[in-house]
Symmetry: C2
DNA sequence: CGGATTGATGCGGACAACGCATGAACACAT
DNA sequence: ATGTGTTCATGCGTTGTCCGCATCAATCCG
């Protein structure tokens, strides 16, 4: 028994209209087509559903039951297809963003609230982690795209988003901080202080090491900690200094810290949108990126030290 | 956009198996057929649902959503068809029986409980009323069949079910009752007592009038009441006597009444199963009638005065 | 008793779906 | 690096299904 949707909706139309001819007009098909469709359905289910005496059509007991069931099935189909369309149009569903903690905490909240205003039925899932885990999420397809540092690989397409300048982070009252609020500090000066580094898995560490290498300074840090917040605590306790991208400063808490621009050279990290190359991007994700690009086009204010790329 | 069930279930099978070839084996169709079915579906919904790189098949975000929805629709179809089959096999649904109050109260309860033991998912609806209303229910198709008195018409087919003998109903201590428990009373004797009749709409009334006419007695009753129970009350109060089919005696309540067989002549009413001629009988109703006929074949005990026809 | 309307059906044509065979891309082993 | 096997896509010919047109039989209406 292999009833088709066409048969069921044909039967439902005929049963509701109690007329083959009228139903045929509604559906814009010929009367003979409906006649056959209903006859086939009856043959397949093995029961008479309609009593047709040439003048009018009425339902048998089985026909009443069949109408109820046919309408259920046809409705399930119609509403399911509509739901799928909504999903495909990006009006419902989920967008999964993999990103670094600093981006998640500082950059994304404004974007998310702007996005949700326009697409209230789309849920936003943030997967935060360090660079490697973030890129892994995208490659595995768990996340639609990432906002992160990192080099373009063959598998990922990178689109520059913002530049995030490194600043010197110093304990309050440190000599290098005494020169004034806007006075810059040089990497070489920083290299002469005890340096507190973040763990090697962090993308920040790689860039800091590169900057010191560029000025021929520094080999080993005075101490290392896994998370940025811990490093901030160590600095506040007076154990040394560090260099961090401006975007992570809000994660340091309200300790006894000051920060100064870093020059000689000016170092920044670029945060990119990274997505799988040559893969169709779900429309929900596309809409999220549209919102992000709109923010950039409007030149929405960013924290000091962070600029649109 | 006109997706077919075949496309949806093909897609669901492929998506679940994550392989066209494996799904093709499961469904006993060729791989090329599935390939085309899925491609057509994708074209119709306007989105790629599966990422096939020659080695393996994985779902896109839209594909995950589409799988969920496709399974919903296919399940709705499968369970709907199964439900319809159950209905057609008479394993679910309703059987509507139109019948007289006495039959409903005395004869049917046993049959219904026997029927429901075997078909627990079939509901039994009893429509009780007087003869005319009962026959009307069947003619209108509201009831599947009737158990009632009445003459066969062209539209209805009657099948004899039971015979229900008239008995004399007397107040306790009445002279006619003094002769002993099994001693019969004659219609002529009854005609000499004040007679309490039921209303003219009742089938009982017609038969009683005919019986009195047969013995050339009685023209007008001493009093008339609509319901059998009321007449019973009047008799118990000593206002007169009446004649009723044995089947209705349980409806009289526990008043101060006695009853005696009526002879000269023996009068009974025949209760028939009445169904619409040349109409297919729903299987649920057929099963109910089967139960009833089984009771008859087993010669299940009936109340005194009632015999299988 | 004709005219009109309704559902069923024979017929021919168009189109869809299927299976077979084959092609192209890729994984894995040698 | 090359060969072998697996997997999905696709061209092709055939089969079968579905549609609309025209027509038929039954019924209702005036």
């Amino acid at each position: 028994m292999d009833t088709t949707l066409r048969q069921l909706s044909a039967y439902a139309a005929v049963a509701r209209a109690a007329s083959f001819t009228a139903a045929a007009a509604q559906l814009h098909v010929s009367q003979s087509s409906l006649s056959r469709a209903v006859a086939d359905l009856e043959r397949q289910v093995g029961a008479q559903l309609l009593e047709r005496d040439t003048r009018n059509v009425q339902l048998t007991a089985a026909g009443v039951e069949a109408l109820r069931i046919a309408e259920q099935i046809v409705n399930a189909h119609r509403s399911g297809m509509k739901e799928l369309q909504r999903f495909l149009l990006g009006e419902s569903g989920t967008v999964a963003v993999a990103t670094l903690p600093s981006v998640a905490a500082v950059l994304l909240p404004g974007v998310i609230s702007g996005f949700r205003e326009r697409r209230p039925r789309v849920a936003v899932q943030i997967m935060d982690g360090l660079e490697q885990s973030v890129l892994g999420r995208v490659l595995a397809g768990d996340a639609d795209f990432a906002i992160t540092t990192g080099e373009p690989s063959g598998q990922l397409e990178h689109r520059p988003l913002v530049r995030d300048r490194f600043v010197a982070v110093l304990p309050e009252g440190h000599p290098l901080a005494e020169r004034g609020e806007q006075e810059a500090v040089g990497w070489e000066e920083l290299a002469r202080e005890p340096f507190l580094a973040v763990g090697r898995e962090s993308s920040v560490r790689r860039l800091v090491d590169a900057a010191f290498a560029q000025v021929d300074a520094r080999t080993a840090p005075a101490a290392e900690a896994g998370s940025v917040a811990t490093v901030g605590g160590l600095v506040a306790a007076g154990l040394g200094v560090t260099a961090l991208p401006a975007l992570v400063l809000p994660l340091l808490g309200a300790g006894a810290l000051v920060h100064r621009p870093l020059t000689g050279p000016v170092v920044d990290r670029r945060l990119d949108i990274a997505l799988r190359a040559r893969r169709p991007l779900p429309l929900t994700a596309q809409h999220f990126l549209d919102t992000l690009q709109a923010f950039r086009a409007e030149e929405r204010p960013l924290p000091p030290g962070v600029t649109w790329a």
